[in-house]
């Protein structure tokens, strides 16, 4: 049981970890990673139940674990990618010291960040699950791989639901504080989301801006 206690204690630290995407915008008492996971799980359940041949139990587990690597790895945002030069290589040390920049990163910039981000997240996940029983460790890795690589419909759905929840939270903050570059976020959603149920929900989010 000791390994489970320490795993839950570590994952529990995400209840205190404010999301950088919001703190960069100067939002006080910003949403934490655990709160983000909470609403993502809800969205996966509420919209996933409309999908045919969908393994809901698996999808909800993927939603639960999708960001737990952030216990030890940084919570990178597209503003970090926007701060990377398009030309030349970037080192891990440079990534760790990036000064986020507002605006929309290009594919080249995103790819550069992704390479190092993945390396750091893999190390973090390894540390986090190190003492768990082998079968549980394997299950977490399998779910995480499905999310990261989008190799199953559940993994792809959660990956897109994660983006939609970010958009939803961003719009909520925009309505309250007006500090979020929401137009860029809506634009990005139209490039990244292809699930019809999630696209329908984005439509509702957009409509809520008219109210």
């Amino acid at each position: 049981m000791k390994n489970l206690l320490s795993f839950l204690t570590e994952v529990g630290t995400l209840k205190e970890k404010e999301r950088r995407g919001w703190t960069i915008h100067g939002i006080k008492n910003a949403e934490t990673t655990a709160e983000h996971i909470f609403t993502t799980v809800f969205l996966v359940w509420l919209l996933g139940r409309k999908k045919e041949g969908f393994d809901m139990e698996k999808a909800m587990k993927i939603a639960l674990i999708h960001d737990i690597c952030e216990v030890y790895s940084p919570d990178f945002t597209s503003y970090d990618a926007a701060a990377i030069k398009e030309e030349g290589e970037i080192t891990r040390e440079e990534v760790e010291n990036l000064k986020p920049q507002k605006g929309r990163p290009t594919t080249k910039q995103r790819k550069k960040l992704q390479k190092i981000k993945k390396e750091m997240e893999d190390e973090s996940m390894e540390k986090l699950v190190a003492d768990l029983d082998d079968d549980l460790k394997k299950e977490i890795y399998t779910l995480w791989e499905e999310y990261e690589e989008g190799s199953t419909s559940e993994g792809r759905f959660v990956k897109q639901a994660d983006k939609v929840i970010n958009l939803f939270q961003g719009i909520e903050y925009y309505k309250k504080h007006g500090k979020i570059e929401h137009d860029l976020w809506v634009r990005r959603a139209k490039e990244t989301i292809d699930d019809p149920h999630l696209l329908g929900f984005i439509g509702e989010i957009e409509e809520s801006l008219e109210e």
Binding site: T106, Q114, K138, T142, R156, K190, I193, D194, E206
Partner: protein
């Protein structure tokens, strides 16, 4: 209802085939070391753990089998084709910024790497457009994508 059709590039198909072969090999290896089912009069925890792991493997194998059975490999048109079709690398300009996307089927989409699904609003709008065209994504936020270049491998 028929099975869903998966449109994959040749590389995407080969990756899935290689993952599938790897999993089959892993399963074969696993089956060489089946623990005893019973430990005294109770089910052996090692055996239960083995069953769970085998179940996960079998599920992954069966999903990939379904994909491989229903895949249609995207055929690249001639290199001179200037129309956006599946597999095209498209240079666009939007909001004063140039960017590059590859248009792929939903299975291979990975927007962080610039691989945009043909079922996304932007993918749908780009599909069928030609070099020099502009397409507009109409919603509350209106964005115009100017297609500057279309190329195929």
């Amino acid at each position: 209802m028929g099975d869903k059709k998966y449109y994959l590039t040749k590389e995407g198909f080969e990756k899935i085939k290689s993952d599938y072969d790897k999993l089959r090999k892993e399963k074969k290896e696993k089956l060489k070391e089946v623990p005893e089912a019973l430990h005294s009069e109770e089910l052996n925890p090692e055996y239960l753990s083995f069953r769970r792991e085998l179940g996960l493997l079998e599920e992954k194998i069966s999903k990939l089998e379904e994909v491989l059975r229903n895949t249609e490999i995207i055929k690249s048109p001639s290199k001179n084709c200037k129309e956006v079709r599946l597999g095209a690398t498209v240079t666009i300009e939007a909001g004063g910024q140039e960017d590059e996307f590859v248009l792929v089927g939903t299975m291979e989409a990975d927007p962080v790497l610039g691989k945009i699904s043909d079922e996304s609003p932007v993918g749908r709008a780009l599909l069928g457009a030609k070099e020099g065209d502009s397409v507009t994504i109409s919603s509350r936020v209106k964005v115009v994508y100017k297609i500057k270049k279309v190329r195929y491998k």
